[in-house]
Symmetry: C2
Subunit: 439 residues, 2 copies
């Protein structure tokens, strides 16, 4: 028999997610108690400013500005403050006090994951973080549990809704990059400082978390190659569309073989990429998220839904609270986040993929042959090349735009080829390089 | 510290899935042991016929025809025999012996779920069944754990790959029903006796399992309203396509309000339905499966992948084995499958949805007005009506085909309206009724 008692829950953070979580725990207390087999008692909600809390469902007497005071005696500590400090210190205090911890803090996990998992393991506590990646879309649990007996080959994730909204507008409504960003800002998809989203920092944090989990290997945030969508032009998006592709910002984590050592390793990267129009990821529109997983036995799986939002994130946190509560009642030591494989994390230049290269070239006979020669010498095989007549350059010579899509090549070979192209007399400029993924 | 020891695993069933599971446990033993924190030792594989096992990776000395002999002493029992008996007796024996049980047996769960969950609860054992629905697509764990703090409103699932293949061919290649079924049979999507798939029995079993789990309520198999795809015509599929819809066989489980008592209840049903072409489920092609979940806080989620196959199912079973092994090592009582909500299971006539009705009518002035009058009297509001000139009927009178799509109405109101239509002098025949879902 399970001993029926109240579990004490401390909620740290009174922002949208924290206030939603606390309010739902109170409102749905009876229903949740029946599912868990014990009451879930909110012992307090730590906020930065008592007067800034606007959620009427939160009883004022639960609020405190002293987060630390809520930890002793709590069975579960829910960290929804965000950022590194004081979140890190509070999570470590909570784990050391024997509480199980639930967090939605992607920045903290991406930068201090190993420290937190080790602290949890030492005291036999659990650390739950389903809400840290793609809000309510279950992806942490499927990777950790459902695919625990399988071998993940590759993850392709649309894990940032703001940039997906922008790229989707550029694709489906032929908006320019600036116009789409302005609209995203007006609709609340982008913060006043959009760099976290647009430059791919948010997606890189999630890539580090997903890669670590999928490959049972610590992938540090600074090992994630990162390119944002700032340089993606309407011209590239249109050329992609004409060739049967859609441009998406992807968080990619994959098993690759190091060409030097022959050893298997992990590559994690974030960059805009062309995805075939009939790929399930191509149908992810607006601010939605999706994570596409290729596993050795399970084949291709996709997890789709809203990747952000206060109540959506609260749903993921509540799911973790119920799981943690059941585990807490059952007792026994926690299950440590395993880095059992500990694969080497490889730099992007050993990654192998396909590329779309946009060149501005002199509009003269023989230029395509010359460009094709550079690719051949670089060991990069061309799949398609299409040319559109352009304007004249500043010297008055006629120019043309050449869009080339290649077969698979290493990043290293591609980089060397692009360097040679840039120095080539008939190439006026290399206007952009995008990778092609999902095949 | 976790005590490092070998966990003993008995595999019951030596078919494709059983042989794959046992072979993978042996081949990947080291990797799995590192993930679990203990060795996973296959103590035996029970098969029906020793000579029929064709998997070279399975050591002959592990094989036995005596399934019962493998249970005593096993930590985990993996039931992959299928069907009701002897699977039911063996699972109960295993649970009573204190083993945690992993099964992929949808028929057993849909018909004897409560008995098995109760047996597990009494001894504090766990019952895992991720592979029973949609093979390797994680759906059981997300519903049980990730959404444990949310309230599911509706599940729309494409959970039978064979019928999705057939309907997809009818839609994308305008094949007739018979031709598509023949192709499905030739390609191995259909068994010699296709009724389990085509008549919706397989999908109904999965609907019962999903509905029970999502609504914390026992939904018995015989409470699932079931219609197969046998009556779906090429004409209906074409009319759906022209109106912006795709026809899919859906397993639906939803919260509905009983109009008589005003009480909330659960409706579970399987039938072909029109899905808007821009709905994520419309993009599920070929033999793939997908489960679309609408939850109060999480919003819309979709889980997509291959819904069948030996290695895919083995992947889901292995994920459950790793989870069960971790839980077994951690100790403590199991978490019971909760029927904490125990909602009434309501008949289909209180379900509310939209409908596509195909009528053969006399091609005379005033017929549309008459038909529209019948709908209005029945309390069913018409959204669109489109007419195509037909041939003459057997009396030589000219006929026309009328395709009507309605607004939302109860099944009861629709059924009464269709009955009146059938008796109406200008209606020659009601050629078909399909529901419209996903909006």
């Amino acid at each position: 028999m399970i001993e029926y008692r109240n579990l004490k829950i401390a909620v740290l953070g009174g922002g949208t997610v924290g206030a939603n979580v606390a309010a739902l725990l109170i409102e749905h207390g009876e229903e949740l108690a029946a599912r868990v087999g014990a009451g879930l008692e909110v012992v307090g909600v730590a906020v930065r400013d008592l007067d800034a809390v606007r959620t009427p469902a939160l009883p004022r007497e639960l609020l405190t500005t002293d987060a630390e005071s809520l930890i002793p005696g709590a069975d579960l500590v829910v960290e929804l403050i965000g950022g590194i400090e004081p979140a890190r210190t509070l999570v470590l205090q909570a784990l050391n006090s024997g509480a199980d911890v639930i967090t939605a803090n992607k920045a903290l996990l991406a930068t201090h994951g190993p420290e937190l998992f080790e602290a949890a393991e030492q005291v036999g506590a659990q650390l739950y973080y389903e809400a840290a990646v793609a809000a309510a879309i279950p992806i942490i649990r499927p990777l950790r549990d459902s695919l625990a007996g399988d071998r993940v080959r590759r993850i392709l994730g649309i894990v940032n809704g703001s940039t997906n909204f922008i790229l989707d507008k550029m694709d489906t409504e032929a908006m320019g990059s600036e116009e789409a960003q302005r609209l995203a800002f007006e609709l609340g998809y982008l913060e006043a400082d959009p760099t976290l989203d647009v430059d791919g920092y948010d997606a890189a944090q999630k890539a580090a978390i997903l890669a670590s989990l999928a490959f049972h290997t610590h992938v540090p945030l600074d090992a994630v190659h990162r390119e944002g969508i700032g340089a993606v032009t309407g011209e590239q998006v249109a050329a992609a569309r004409a060739a049967g592709y859609v441009v998406k910002l992807l968080a990619i984590a994959e098993r690759v073989t190091d060409p030097v050592t022959g050893r298997e390793g992990v590559s994690a990267r974030v960059h805009p990429a062309l995805v075939p129009a009939d790929h399930p990821l191509a149908a992810v529109h607006g601010g939605n998220n999706a994570v596409f997983v290729e596993a050795e036995f399970a084949g291709s799986l996709m997890f789709y839904g809203a990747g952000a939002g206060g109540v959506q994130t609260a749903s993921a946190v509540l799911g973790d609270i119920v799981s943690a509560a059941r585990r807490h009642l059952a007792g026994g030591p926690g299950v440590a986040e395993s880095v059992s494989a500990d694969l080497p994390v490889l730099p992007i230049d050993v990654a192998i993929t396909r590329y779309q290269i946009t060149l501005e070239v002199a509009d003269l006979p023989g230029v395509l042959a010359e460009v094709a020669g550079v690719f051949a010498e670089g060991g990069v095989s061309i799949e398609t090349a299409s040319q559109a007549a352009g304007a004249a350059d500043e010297t008055g010579d006629p120019t043309a735009t050449l869009v080339i899509i290649t077969h698979r090549a290493t990043e290293r070979a591609l980089a060397a080829t692009v360097e040679t192209l840039a120095a080539s007399p008939s190439v006026r400029s290399v206007r952009g390089v995008l990778r092609v993924e999902g095949q």
